[in-house]
């Protein structure tokens, strides 16, 4: 025993620190996050709260673009500013304090005005994974969103004014491989067993097993055998109806052994088989959603610029048409069940091996495409992950923020419809936009200096927006008064809340896991109501 060296596979510090989130998005999600770079325009309380919740889980880098100096109001609403920060650049001050949260995160601060960057050095934005903007005026919103749309960079526009908050996510398209569905369906191929699986099934004869082995065969085998038996009297059909499934249950019941007194022995694996009849006998099929994806033009007409998702969809289509015989690659995951380790591991390996054979084929097809197109390579790990989740692939087509400003666009009539309902959350949206417009025209927030005289000016902005979407003016001015009363001030809890939401969605975008909000969220802290809209 002298050779015994305590060599427990020690966790490294990083996996300890991130333990609670690794359990949510896995180490590949964490890697994606660590390769991410967020650009924030304006380190307001809202902007800083967003970064706080992205720095903590370990984003790779943040860049803050902010030309403003710290005011008393900033210090009052932003946790990441100190009294000594007054008069200094707001971006670099918040950056300094934010980086104290996590020394693994890189930070940069840029003090140029964003519109100037957009004019003189637009390439600046190319290196980011997501751009987040807050407290922007209408002109900048239009220019920046159009530029980022053309650049194909995700953009999140967010606002926090008084009790109102909002965010709007813009991307051209967002593909999600890991959607984390609540109920992931099992993929067992009992109706179309592959060679390895049918060989294994054939090697087991339930009736000749010793009792102690009998209680340890996986329910999958039991179910398969029951169907086989049923098929001998049913023209080799597959049991579909409720009645037929009940017949399967009866057959399984007959498999259960009895003790010397004729009392059936309680064997868990057989009970599991009976419970699984309704779900596990669903025939294998190609989900319509996935079919649409692999036959969409983006997956068929590939170019050098096609993103990896479409290249993999294309390879997947080739697999389905050839080796897959109409089906997707095997998922290769076996649910937990009562079984001896031997049986379980053997069965697990059979499924795993076939899954990796299938994924290998898809990977080879991906490689072929990549070399034909001469585009960036795609790793085997990526392809494996893609195949493992091929059943649940999801694509969201985004829309350009500029459409919201276009008269006569479908978005305009969508807005009008909600205003006529009347949907008070859409009214808040109009007010937030009117405040942006006010800022463009008057270089300050409505009510910031003179609440009374600003009311008429803000009302003008509201009327302009309403006429753009062909709606009549609001019957009452109370929302306009309220907006002017806010004077552009941020309420910390509203910013903290919206900031959490924006970071939440940004992480979904960067890790490409879970479905993000598509695409607009409005919040009213006074009534604590919220709504989402798809513009």
């Amino acid at each position: 025993m002298a050779s015994l060296s305590p060599k427990s596979p020690e966790q490294n510090e990083k996996s300890k620190q991130y333990d609670r989130q690794l359990r949510l998005w896995g180490d590949h999600g964490q890697t994606a996050l660590e390769n991410g770079h967020i650009c924030l325009i304006n380190a307001t309380a809202l902007g800083t709260e967003v970064l706080k919740s992205i720095v903590l889980p370990g984003i790779g880098a943040i860049t803050i673009v902010d030309e403003n100096n710290v005011s008393d109001e900033d210090i009052g609403s932003n946790f990441f500013l100190e009294t000594t920060s007054k008069g200094l650049n707001r971006g670099s001050e918040t950056l300094r304090l934010l980086l104290e949260l996590n020394d693994a995160v890189q930070g940069h601060s840029v003090q140029e005005p964003p519109d100037q960057i957009l004019q003189e050095n637009p390439d600046f934005f190319k290196s980011f994974s997501v751009v987040i903007g807050t407290s922007l005026n209408e002109k900048l919103i239009k220019d920046l969103s159009q530029y980022l749309w053309d650049l194909n960079k995700p953009f999140i526009l967010c606002r926090s004014v008084g009790f109102l908050g909002s965010f709007r996510i813009q991307f051209r398209e967002h593909s999600i491989i890991e959607t984390h569905p609540e109920n992931e369906k099992v993929d067992l191929r009992l109706d179309v067993p592959f060679t390895g699986l049918s060989d294994y099934f054939d090697s087991i004869v339930i009736s000749t097993l010793e009792l102690k082995d009998h209680g340890h065969i996986p329910w999958i085998v039991i179910l398969y055998k029951a169907v086989q038996k049923w098929q001998t009297t049913n023209l080799n059909r597959w049991p579909m109806s409720r009645k037929e499934k009940n017949e399967i249950k009866d057959i399984i019941q007959q498999f259960i052994r009895s003790d010397e007194n004729g009392v059936p022995i309680n064997e868990e694996n057989f009970e599991e088989a009976i419970r699984a009849v309704n779900t596990a006998l669903l025939p294998t099929f190609l989900p319509v959603k996935v079919q649409d994806l692999i036959y969409s033009s983006a997956a068929i007409n590939l170019t050098k610029e096609s993103n990896p998702f479409w290249i993999m969809c294309s390879a997947l289509r080739a697999f389905v048409e050839a080796e897959g015989k109409g089906n997707l690659p095997l998922r290769g995951v076996l649910p937990d069940m009562t079984a001896s380790t031997e049986h379980y591991v053997k069965l697990q390996n059979i499924y795993r091996n076939q899954a990796s054979v299938d994924a290998e084929i898809v990977y080879r097809k991906v490689q072929q495409i990549v070399s034909q197109l001469q585009c960036d390579s795609i790793s085997e790990t990526e392809v494996k992950l893609f195949c493992r989740h091929a059943h649940d692939l999801h694509l969201i087509i985004g829309s350009n923020i500029a459409l919201e400003y276009q008269t006569g666009s479908p978005v305009a009539s969508y807005i009008a419809r909600h205003l006529e309902e009347p949907d008070v959350m859409m009214v808040h949206y109009i007010l937030l936009r009117a405040a942006d417009m006010f800022k463009s025209e008057h270089c300050r927030a409505p009510g910031e200096w003179e609440p009374e005289s600003d009311i008429a000016k803000l009302k003008n902005c509201v009327s302009k927006i309403l006429s753009d979407v062909s709606c009549s003016p609001f019957p009452k001015d109370d929302h306009i008064h309220e907006m002017c009363r806010y004077g552009g001030a941020e309420i910390h809890s509203v910013s903290a809340f919206v900031g959490g939401c924006v970071a939440h969605e940004a992480i979904k975008l960067i890790t490409k896991q879970y479905n993000p909000v598509n695409n607009t969220f409005i919040y009213d802290g006074a009534s604590t109501n919220s709504a989402t809209f798809t513009f």
């Binding site: 620190q17 008084g162 591991v345 001030a489």
Partner: protein, 607 residues
């Protein structure tokens, strides 16, 4: 410092905030966020309480703590960090458990609002009762991964935290754990029990040796095997595991041989157990599977690789030594407390669970997976905590303005639902359940048990575990006879008497009260011959006001709801395995049909 906000808030709110006093219970992920929000909203008087210290795994979300704070008091560091940004606030920090005589009803009464940012059901139940007793509005919060929720609890106006049944915490029969494990979780529970037997607080209910009283083994050769065994091994069965281990100096090889060799041989001698089960295979220290394997290649985190049995044995040896050294370094009589984030504790449980799993032909798991199951870890991220804490403080503002009606429960969903909602609110406040055994005007509950067998000591733990009381007093209704007293020693002489012997029979009622919680409940006794232990029979599932949400109201599933208790829930039809054990700081995440969809905790940190 909150210059502009003063203009946004109306005068009433500004004044109410200026005169308010708020208690924040818990300084974890949500607690840190709430504290920050309160400070920046201008709340002048805040108290924060948390018994926990800071761990590395907190740093991914608890932003008031940095690496240099690891090991320090959460409440204290949270206060210091918050004050460094705004020194004008009066914050009092308590590094303490909220379940204590120091925080009685009069303590709670001094606050306008109590905000719960807790991670376990026991403390939540307790604060719920304290707030009901003190009649203070309670804002209850929780998150689990991408999901979360905020709700208001106000006596007489809303449901209380205990108005609806919670999913029972799953427990496993002792003989499954000790004799016939069939799933990884059985081995993990056993390994945690073993930890406590060797290093932790000894609990007779956590025996890890073969259970000769297993009904399945009855009339077995086991008893004869026992005598044979005794002569061979020098009567080791008679000693407590701790004593024996101490005598052998925690020598890993000897421990291994007893636990994974001798004890398994003994189990094998109980032949009835193995008639229709695959028998276990005892292990020999010198010859373990995986000994000659070259180090396995593994992509991903090292923690996610499954160790070979040989590696497990090495880790077992190393962790035993480390834990023994830790134990020896403490004052006599002190013990270790199992902690999933403590390296040796977690190594030990991983190694033991896997070695035992191998013996019983059960699949082995990685340390990463076992940590999830043993620690009952709920994923926790910064963003969900920020969202929930933001909502909670906005709710606090509503409460101070007297707008209680606006404070309906809100649920954060992992994704937008079919109605386009990321946040699903209840339309109105949910009225209290008149049958609630906590907040009803005259709370009542039935206790099903076998009066011939249940002892007073067991009754005491039923009241503590089942009804979450801290120090129950019980008297017979109508007679005034005190059967249980919270005064130490006063009723101890009756401890081993059965309820029948004390003169209690079917239908009898006890008036049980807890002084600290200011809570009294009438407990009806219900004789059930089959009940091996006890079970609470509540009427919580009787028809409730119609649900306001448009979800189908098919939640009512029978009238008798099994509450957490040692007896196994009868209705075990749901195949979702829950990884639960009787453990402080453990919360089941199990969506009930209608409300409290994510009734989980921020994280399970307290255990």
């Amino acid at each position: 410092m909150v210059a502009r906000v003063a203009g946004v808030f109306d005068e009433k709110l500004t004044e109410a905030i200026a005169n308010s006093k708020v208690l924040v219970v818990g300084a974890g992920g949500i607690g840190c966020e709430i504290l920050k929000n309160l400070v920046l909203t201008g709340f002048p008087n805040i108290e924060i309480i948390d018994l926990d210290t800071i761990d590395v795994s907190n740093l991914n979300r608890q932003f008031l703590f940095h690496k240099e704070h690891v090991g320090k008091s959460k409440a204290q560091v949270a206060k210091d960090s918050a004050l460094s940004f705004n020194p004008n606030v009066n914050i009092i920090a308590h590094h303490d458990s909220v379940i204590s005589n120091d925080y009685g009803v009069s303590y709670f009464k001094q606050f306008n609002i109590v905000m719960n940012a807790l991670d376990n059901r026991v403390a939540r139940n307790h604060v719920n009762r304290m707030c009901l007793a003190a009649d203070v509005p309670l804002v209850e919060t929780g998150t689990a991964g991408y999901a979360g929720q905020v709700e208001l609890i106000k006596k007489g106006l809303t449901q209380c935290y205990e108005c609806l049944p919670k999913a029972p915490q799953k427990s496993f029969p002792g003989c499954t754990i000790r004799n016939t494990p069939s799933e990884p979780i059985h081995c993990i529970v056993w390994a945690k029990h073993l930890f406590n037997q060797l290093f932790g607080e000894e609990d007779p209910d956590q025996d890890v040796s073969p259970d000769t009283a297993d009904p399945e083994a009855a009339g077995d050769a086991g008893s004869s095997a026992l005598s044979a065994k005794e002569s061979e091994t020098g009567n080791v069965e008679r000693k407590s595991t701790r004593t024996w281990a101490a005598e052998t100096n925690y020598e890993p090889e000897k421990l291994f041989t007893k636990l994974f060799g001798d004890d398994i041989h003994y189990l094998l001698s109980m032949e009835n157990l193995w008639k229709k089960r695959r028998p276990p295979t005892p292990l020999v220290w010198d010859n373990l599977p995986g000994k000659d394997d070259s180090p396995a290649k593994h992509s991903g985190l090292p923690d996610q690789r499954v160790w070979s049995v040989h590696e497990c044995a090495q880790v077992f040896a190393a962790s035993c030594k480390a834990l023994e050294a830790d134990l020896k370094g403490r004052p006599s009589g002190d013990h270790l407390v199992w902690d999933k984030d403590e390296k040796s504790s977690m190594d030990f449980v991983t190694a033991c669970a896997n070695i035992r799993a191998h013996i019983f032909n059960i699949p082995l798991k990685s340390r990463f997976e076992i940590k999830s199951m043993a620690g009952n870890i709920i994923p926790a991220i910064a963003t969900a905590n920020a969202i929930v804490a933001g909502l909670a403080v906005l709710r606090a503002q509503n409460i101070l303005k007297g707008e209680l009606e606006a404070c309906t429960s809100v649920y954060l969903r992992p994704k937008v639902n079919h109605r386009g909602q990321l946040f699903v609110p209840e339309r109105t406040l949910t009225a209290p359940n008149p049958k609630c055994y906590v907040c009803a005007p005259k709370p009542e509950v039935a206790l099903a048990c076998n009066l011939k067998h249940l002892t007073l000591k067991e009754l005491n733990s039923a009241l503590k575990e089942g009804l979450n009381m801290q120090a129950p007093d019980a008297a017979v209704e109508g007679k005034g006879l005190v059967v249980l007293s919270s005064e130490p020693g006063e009723t101890d002489h009756n401890n081993d008497k059965t309820l029948e012997e004390i003169g209690l029979n079917d239908g009898c009622a006890l008036l049980v009260d807890d002084f600290l919680q200011n809570y009294e409940v009438r407990v009806r006794l219900q004789q059930e011959d089959e009940e091996k232990s006890w079970r609470l029979v509540t009427e919580l599932d009787t028809p409730m006001p119609a649900p306001k949400e448009d979800k189908p109201a098919n939640g009512a599933n029978g009238s008798n709801d099994p509450k957490p208790g040692p007896s196994r829930p009868k209705d075990d039809s749901d195949s979702d395995m829950e990884i639960i054990e009787e453990d402080e700081g453990v919360e089941t995440v199990k969506p009930p049909k209608r409300r409290r969809v994510e009734m989980s905790d921020e994280i399970v940190e307290l255990c």
